[in-house]
């Protein structure tokens, strides 16, 4: 059923270099999250639940896994006739040859032919690396009702943190009058969530102009939004209340996982009306052994727990051996925590094998320790 003519474009090409080894071979949106998900599942599931039928996923950095993963439209129920998930990687073109995506706006510009072909009336631009649940259909309705050329979703953030975000200054009708990227002295606490709805016709014109400008960095926040403001086009803020998190660093990725243990984080994955869909794995249910001790954990199928798990998130296929102790940690897919190993405030990457008895992290550590394969290899060398 086609309900609206809004096409979603998910920006998923970035490397996410602040995730270090986690994004060495996969793009950030494909990084695992919350036991059984990948980060991009949230944007894709939100699209599906908001009755959007056509979604473009713009990939560039390390895209093999992300492309094949996103292309399986049926995972999210995005496989209706006439719709689907389109993986849009940089391509060679008749007129312009092969060009990489030079920025977020350029990535959309280079796919204007796709949006033309889909006869888009509205374009929803999303980031592939945010954790949240949002009904874009409601946002579209407000966009239409307010007769704006663009609507930007905003969330209230604590004033002292506002200088980390793109801040929208609005009038009393929530019309955006000024946009400041990471201001030193923020005038408001409305942070952009990186969720935009554009009326396509106008956007198309502005993207074409932006592409011609050699001085532009072809970025939505830095160039396109300021151009709209300069020309006095109507830009509306859409206030979002609820859970939203940018998981761009090891600490924030760890924190977002830990939020799943809370009753009141605002991110309810149990809600049957707004499920987050993900690739199905043919894993057994979770095996909780005779010796296991579990105190507040989020654990998914395929995990085998024989040790102690406290306040942690355990992903698919993880094995926690006897007498191991895992506390305040996130253990990603297929990692093995050896017998008697002790982990505190760690984020263990996929497939890492932690040797028996190894002690990692400390509850007094302010920062979370990223335990990757190369970290373990290095620790092994130092012991020799």
């Amino acid at each position: 059923m086609k309900k609206n003519n809004m096409v979603a474009m998910i920006l998923a090409g970035g490397r996410g270099s602040r995730l270090f080894d986690l994004t060495k071979k996969v793009a950030k949106p494909a990084v695992h999250f919350g036991g059984k998900y990948r980060i991009i599942d949230f944007a894709l599931s939100n699209c599906a639940n908001s009755h959007i039928s056509t979604v473009g996923v713009l990939v560039q950095y390390e895209s093999i896994l992300l492309s094949s993963y996103s292309a399986r439209s049926s995972t999210w129920g995005l496989d209706s006739k006439g719709g689907g998930v389109y993986v849009l990687s940089p391509r060679e073109k008749d007129e312009t040859g092969l060009g990489l995506y030079k920025g977020t706006a350029d990535a959309i510009y280079q796919n204007l032919d796709f949006l033309d072909q889909e006869e888009a009336e509205y374009v929803l631009v999303l980031s592939g690396d945010h954790i949240y649940k949002m009904d874009y259909e409601k946002m579209l309705q407000e966009h239409i009702d307010s007769k704006a050329e663009a609507t930007i979703a905003v969330i209230e953030v604590p004033k002292k943190e506002a200088s980390r975000f793109g801040i929208m200054n609005t009038d009393n009708t929530d019309r955006i009058i000024e946009f400041e990227e990471k201001p030193k002295e923020p005038k408001s606490n409305l942070a952009s969530m990186g969720v935009y709805i554009f009326t396509y016709k106008t956007m198309r014109k502005y993207l074409k102009e932006d592409a011609k400008d050699p001085a532009s960095s072809h970025d939505f926040g830095k160039n396109l939004i300021p151009a709209y403001l300069r020309d006095n086009l109507k830009l509306q803020a859409y206030r979002f209340k609820g859970y939203w998190k940018d998981v761009g660093t090891i600490d924030s990725l760890w924190e977002a996982n830990m939020d799943l243990l809370k009753d009141n984080s605002g991110l309810d994955l149990f809600d049957p009306d707004w499920k987050i869909y993900t690739d199905d794995v043919s894993a057994t249910p979770q095996c909780i052994g005779e010796q296991a001790k579990i105190d507040n954990a989020f654990i998914t199928q395929g995990a085998i727990v024989n040790g102690e798990v406290k306040h942690s998130v355990i992903f698919s296929g993880v094995e926690i051996k006897e007498k191991a102790k895992v506390e305040e940690s996130v253990i990603m897919n297929d990692a093995v925590v050896g017998e008697g190993a002790v982990l505190n405030r760690c984020l263990v990457a996929d497939g890492v094998r932690i040797p028996d008895g190894m002690v990692l992290g400390n509850k007094k550590n302010k920062e979370i320790l990223l335990v990757s394969k190369s970290f373990i290899a290095k620790a092994g060398e130092e012991n020799e």
């Binding site: 059984k36 149990f270 499920k275 987050i276 199905d280 057994t284 095996c287 001790k293 989020f298 998914t300």
Partner: protein, 371 residues
Amino acid sequence: MSKVLGLLNFEPSYVHVKGIEDFRPISAASILGRYRVIDFMLSNFTNSGIDSIKVYIKNRPRSTVEHIMRTSYNINSKRGRIHLLHGEDVFSNNDLFNVDILAFKTYMEFIDVENPSYVVIAPSHFIFKQDFSELLDHHIASKNDITILYQSVNDANTSYLMGDLLEIDDKKRVVGASKNHGKYKSGDVSLETYVMSTLTFKQLVEEASMTSSLYSLADIIWDNIRVMKIGAYRHHGYCGCISTLNAYFNANMYLKKEKNLTRLINDDWPIYTMTNDSCPTLYKPGAQVRGSLVANGCQIEGTVIDSVIGRNVVIREGAVIKDSVILPDTFIDKNVKLDCAVVDRLSIVTHIKDIKGTKEDPIYVKRGDRI
């Protein structure tokens, strides 16, 4: 490889799983938290490279149909096929007449269309792991007319009751068969899995329907013991015959242990089932869980010991679940004590605070019941 068709038979009339069978055939019953009994045999087929399968359904087709339609058994979406054959018109109210031969005969045209060289007929009330391609290779090499899978057991006095006991000579030839009345502990039990050429299969179906309308495929095979070369092929490893509530309970209890489970299901032999898109399970502060198999989507505040917990089960604080099987979408309220119970899907246990069965005779709580 010659073209092989998998035929998944429906359960014979000796299968009676108290309570559970009132709502679905045992093949569609939930087991081990996230599977249906039928998943094991269908995955045996597809893991063995057989991706053309006929599933015969005797009655109450809804849950089987729904489950199979929504499960990806790793069958090639163009060349492979699962065919659901539900015999609504041909079956009678008297279950004695509802023999597999009737279903095979009725839908023979669907087998003819595919024109396979061999058929593998497997039961839907058994759980075991078997590579059917090995069985087929053995069948072809041995030049048997029929090859039957069997297991040597030492609990025939309590399990596999009314199943078939085989008499096997030292050349692995079946020379006799009798019903298991539970007289002896040890014996060779038929796993009701047969390999034969399509030609032989068609002959047997024809012969059986001419002989008696009460005849099953097994009956006509036993009639031919002296005429045909019937070989036996031994199965090793776990085998569960889910023919009673007790057997259902025992299968859950045995397979919830990691070592037993991972021998049956692993990366080399995955068991496919329907995804429900449930999120992982949340163990809240104060929850105590050990010795258990837990599916996704649960919210646990209470205590769970040596049990199997199905998908999307809620267990409130103070509840204590021990040696029990909780089927999906169940709600166990505060301070409820369950011991040796089988709680069927969608039920709510809130008022009755103490439910206690025994391992030999677990208590059954009805599907959708509110107690």
